[in-house]
Amino acid sequence: MASVIRRLLKELQDIRKDLSDELLSLKPVNDEDLLQWHAVLRGPRETPYQGGLFRLRIDVPEEYPIKPPSLIFTTPVCHPNVHFETGEICLDILKSQWSPAWTLTSTCLAVHVLLANPEPSSPLNCDAANLLRCGDVVGYSSLVSMYTHIFAGQFQ
C-alpha cells in the first residue's frame, strides 16, 4: 500500500508540469483518497471529437503500478473501442500490454491517441466500427460529431 501512495504522490507532483493542451486536468477526486482520480481530455484536433471535453474516471488498484489502473469514460463517447453505455475502453495497454513504467498521465494520453486512431477490428461499439469497416468515413464523422456536440459540448 505504501508504495502505491508514494508513487501516486510523485505522479501528482509531476502532473503540474505534464498538463497540456490535450490533457486539461488530472487529479484525485478528493484529498483523502489517492486511489480515485478523474481526468478531462480535449477531443483531438481535426477529428470529429474536436470541440468536445471528455471526462474519465480512473480507479487505481492497490497493486498499481504492477497492475494497470482502470479508466472509464463518464462522458458518453461514440467510438469503436469505447462502450457507449458503460464507457469501458478496449485498449491493449490497459490489459495485456500494461507496463509498470506507464503513468496515469501517459495512460490518459494513450486514450487520447486512441480517440484519434480507432481500431475497428476489435470493437466495443459495433455500430461505430461497422461504419468505419465499410469505409463510410463521412457517416462515421457526422455521427461522432453529433454525439460530441450533444454530450461533450463545451457550453453545456
Binding site: S3, R6, R7, E63, P65, I66, K67, S99, P100, A101
Partner: protein, 480 residues
C-alpha cells in the same frame, strides 16, 4: 514403460495392433529432462550461451530444424528478431548513483539497488520482484519482458530466477509455468485432461492422419483419451463424427424432429397441433378452422362422409404426409442408434460398479476355495475386457449412425452384433455369483476365461476392420 529392460522382448511378442499408436507418458521430472536434452542438442551447433539457446528455442516453439536453418542463414537477424543478445550479461543488482531513478516507484539515489537488462532500462530491486511475481502469478514465464514502456527485451530465465531467488514458492511456480508452456507450445505434447493429473503425453502421430488412425493414448493415471480432441477414449469413431454426434445429442434438433413427426400445423393459422385422441375432424383452437387430420383438407369438402376420409390419395395431401413420415423415420433412426449408444454408456458405468463387486467376489472365492491371489485374477481381467468392449460398442453406434448403407455397412454391422452378443454373454456370466449348485470353481474359471478370450478376439476383429476401413477410405459417411 521406460527403462523396462524387458521391453524389447515384450515388444516383439505383443505386436502393435493397427489401431494402436505410439505415445510416451512424461512426469514433471521427465519433462524437465526432455527440455534440457533439446537445449543440449542445439547449444553446440548454435554456439550460443545456454540461456540464449533456451530462449531462442522457446521463441520458435521448439522447432529445432527451422531454428537451425534460419540461424545458419541469418545469425544476427534471427537473434534480433527475438530480441536477444548473443551472450546476455549475468544478472546482478547494482548500487544506484545520483542519476538513478526507478520509473516504477520513483525511488532514486545511491541508497537503492537496481537491476538492468542489456537494454539498459534500470528498475529497483523491489519493483522488479513485484513485477516478475505479478507476471508469474498470471501464469507467464519466459515471455516476461523488460518493464519499460514498449521495450521488447525478454527478461530471460536466469534473471527471472535471480530476481525470485528469495521467494521459493514463486520460484517453483515460475518453473512450473516454464514446463507448462513447453507442453502447450509443442503440438506433439498434451496434458492429460484428468483432473489433478500432472502427466503429459507425447504422441508423434501426424495431425493429417488423426481422422484415419484415432490417436487414443493411455495416461499413467488410468485415463484413456483421444490425443486429437482430448475427449475420453472414443475409438472406433473418428473425432469429426464424435463432435457431430455430441452436438446432435446436446442441441434440441431432435425436439424439432419430434414436433415434425407428431404434430401438424393448422393450414390456416400455422399453430402447432398434436393429435392426442379423438376423430379426424379437427377444429383449431386458435382460429377455429375446421379440417381433416388425415388429408389436411377443409372439413367442409368432406360432405357427409364423416370419420372416413376418402381423399387420402390426392397429391396435395400426399406431399404433406410424406414430409411427416420422413421426419418420423429420421427420428426413429436416431433413436435406434441413440438407445444403443446410451445403453452401452450406462452398462459401462455399471461395469465400474461390477468391478467393485468383483473384487469382493474374488476375496470370497480366494477364501472359500483356498486359491491364491493370482489364480482369481481372471475375474478382474474379464471385467476389464467388458469395459473396453462397452466403450468400443458405444462409439461404434455413432460410427454406424453416420455410415452410408451398403455392403460395407452390412459387414460392419455383423461384426458389431457378434461383439455385442459375446459381450452381453460375458457380462451375464461375470455378474452371476457362484452358488453351491452351480458349476464348480474350476469349471466357472474355464468358462470365464474362454468367454473373455473370445470376446477379446471379436473386439480385435472389429477394431482391425474399422481401422483398415478408415485407412483405405472404405467407409462412406454422410452428415445430415
Amino acid at each position: 514403460m521406460d527403462g523396462d529392460e524387458f521391453e524389447p522382448i515384450l515388444g516383439s511378442l505383443q505386436k502393435k495392433k493397427p489401431w494402436e499408436v505410439d505415445f510416451k507418458v512424461y512426469d514433471p521430472h521427465d519433462l524437465l529432462v526432455k527440455q534440457e536434452a533439446i537445449v543440449d542438442r542445439l547449444q553446440s551447433p548454435l554456439a550460443l550461451s545456454r540461456e540464449t539457446t533456451t530462449l531462442l528455442l522457446r521463441c520458435c516453439f521448439w522447432k529445432e530444424e527451422s531454428l537451425l536453418e534460419s540461424f545458419l542463414l541469418d545469425r544476427d537477424g534471427t537473434l534480433a528478431k527475438v530480441g536477444l543478445p548473443e551472450h546476455p550479461p549475468r544478472p546482478k543488482f547494482e548500487a544506484g548513483d545520483e542519476s538513478f531513478m526507478c520509473e516504477i516507484c520513483y525511488c532514486d539515489g545511491a541508497d537503492e539497488t537496481y537491476l538492468a537488462l542489456w537494454c539498459g532500462h534500470r528498475f529497483c530491486r523491489d519493483c522488479y520482484r513485484a513485477y516478475v511475481s505479478g507476471k508469474v502469478h498470471e501464469g507467464e514465464s519466459w515471455r516476461i519482458r523488460c518493464p519499460a514502456v514498449k521495450c521488447r527485451t525478454l527478461l530471460g530465465l536466469e534473471p527471472a530466477r535471480f530476481i525470485l531467488a528469495d521467494d521459493k514458492a514463486m520460484l517453483n511456480r515460475y518453473e512450473e509455468n516454464l514446463t507448462r508452456s513447453f507442453v502447450n507450445d509443442l503440438p506433439t505434447f498434451s496434458w492429460c485432461p484428468a483432473p489433478n493429473c500432472e502427466y503429459a503425453i507425447e504422441c508423434q502421430v501426424p495431425r493429417s492422419t488423426w481422422e484415419t488412425t484415432i490417436p487414443t493414448v493411455h495416461c499413467r493415471c488410468g485415463k484413456a483419451f483421444c490425443f486429437s480432441c482430448k475427449h475420453d477414449d472414443h475409438i472406433p469413431a473418428p473425432c469429426s463424427l464424435v463432435s457431430m454426434w455430441m452436438q446432435k445429442c446436446k442441441d434440441d434438433s431432435e425436439t424439432s424432429n419430434w414436433i415434425k413427426a407428431n404434430t401438424k400445423e393448422c393450414v390456416k393459422c400455422k399453430s402447432t397441433i398434436e393429435k392426442n385422441g379423438g376423430c379426424n375432424h379437427m377444429v383449431c383452437r386458435e382460429c377455429h378452422h375446421e379440417f381433416c387430420w388425415v388429408c389436411m383438407g377443409p372439413w367442409a369438402e368432406h360432405g357427409q362422409s364423416y370419420y372416413n376420409c376418402n381423399r387420402f390419395d390426392e397429391d396435395s395431401s400426399k406431399n404433406a404426409r410424406d414430409s411427416v413420415s420422413k421426419s418420423r423415420a429420421m427420428l426413429e433412426r436416431y433413436l435406434h442408434y441413440f438407445t444403443r449408444y446410451n445403453n452401452h454408456e450406462q452398462s459401462a458405468k455399471l461395469a465400474r460398479r461390477l468391478l467393485a463387486a468383483t473384487e469382493k467376489n474374488m476375496d470370497q472365492i480366494q477364501r472359500d476355495h483356498t486359491l491364491s491371489w493370482i489364480e482369481v485374477q481372471f475375474l478382474s481381467e474379464a471385467v476389464d475386457v467388458l469395459s473396453l468392449c462397452r466403450s468400443t460398442l458405444k462409439w461404434s453406434y455413432v460410427l454406424g449412425y453416420y455410415m452410408k448403407s451398403g455392403n460395407q455397412k452390412t459387414i460392419f454391422e455383423n461384426n458389431q452384433s457378434d461383439l455385442e452378443m459375446a459381450t452381453e454373454l460375458l457380462n451375464e456370466l461375470v455378474e452371476n455369483p457362484i452358488t453351491e449348485d452351480g458349476p464348480s470353481i474350476e469349471e466357472f474359471k474355464r468358462m470365464v476365461i474362454d468367454k473373455s478370450t473370445y470376446v477379446k478376439t471379436r473386439w480385435e476383429t472389429i477394431l482391425a476392420d474399422i481401422t483398415a476401413g478408415l485407412q483405405e477410405n472404405r467407409w462412406q459417411f454422410e452428415s445430415e
